[in-house]
Symmetry: C2
Subunit: 244 residues, 2 copies
Amino acid sequence: MPRSAGVIIPSAGRGSRMDSGLPKQLMLIGGTTILGHTIARILQIPQVRHLVIPASGPIRDQVRDIAAGCIAAAGLTGEVLLDVVAGGKERMDSVGNGLQALQKSGVALVIVHDAVRPCFPMDAVARALEVAASDGAALLAMPARDTVKMVDEEGVVESTPDRRRIWLAQTPQVFRTDVLARAYEVALKNGFNATDDASVAEHAGFPVRVVGGSPDNIKITYTADLIFAGQWLDRHQNKTSSRG
Amino acid sequence: MPRSAGVIIPSAGRGSRMDSGLPKQLMLIGGTTILGHTIARILQIPQVRHLVIPASGPIRDQVRDIAAGCIAAAGLTGEVLLDVVAGGKERMDSVGNGLQALQKSGVALVIVHDAVRPCFPMDAVARALEVAASDGAALLAMPARDTVKMVDEEGVVESTPDRRRIWLAQTPQVFRTDVLARAYEVALKNGFNATDDASVAEHAGFPVRVVGGSPDNIKITYTADLIFAGQWLDRHQNKTSSRG
């Protein structure tokens, strides 16, 4: 499998469902931003050679400092290229900008990952990299543990799809770089908008495979998630890096 | 609205995704079974007059002791009727047995609730009781925070439904008793099986409405959930009961 991967971590989001006025990715867990925790862990993936972070104007310098600090702390200065690019209005605009920046390193695979998901499982990412290298696209996902309802605009249930067929998407999502670049071209042409990058590949007709993720791999959304993530990171961050 | 409700808490489940050999509802949080925490909180719903617990053979006596203990501790002996009925092979068999037992108290509304969801929001249950009394059926649910994938048997994504239409079902689910009884008749006749009771009502053609639940209202499934639920219950169990 290809030994080089780039990572795009969209960090343009400003919204927060928690009370703080801070963008969620800049909230602190144990004195470190959530974004810093996420990047530190992403840098433990041995294939990573290029880190691209789309970030919006006012926080761009801070995001660059965080990322550069993580790269230095991991002893990877010079080994991992860093680009902070413009964040877009929509998530897809940000990832599109990131894809352009990745062209200069010519990485074979691209990992797209949420800034606010620091608790992802390394072994599943390794599998997703293998599956994407062979089949084009893979995402971490979990089988739904709750029954899922399709609901109309009035709040009335329309249907209950078979739960065995329903998976909840997580990130990392991994793509052959040519697959994701082509998928973004198709989406741009068709005006297609989506909440995740796997959807963009699906829309362009590429097969996308699910790889079992982890229930711990939450997108930090609510205050209770901060408590959980803090405990999880305490347990995991002192483990030896899988990187040499 | 009707002032009387019965509760069915199916407790026949034996499975556990955690390492313990215990049924999940009998695992301890702070020295009390999860089932005990759940029942104690259910008894704070002022309308509850009848508690029915389907439980399978070997744990039936323990379940009865737990439930009777909760009723006594809440000072509701004589006010809340208790029946422990046979658990069935499928969840629907258990709830069906529970529905039969509810006939003797003639409650106007029936609340069906998972044994392993102790952290449910009281205000949402009050709304669900109102909606069910007027419209027939209501369930607590949360908008999906992750993108949802429909996946085929090979693990390839088939589609990504619009996330705004997707809600994750929780319990309590509340029904007019006549609605749920009729729905179970239809399901039995058609051999329809489902993972939640709202589906049974939907299958029979009854309108079912969603009421916003809470992200805290988790179905305890993983070890991390025990930690979360323990902290949550610590924060909430000393609050004054809403019951006189």
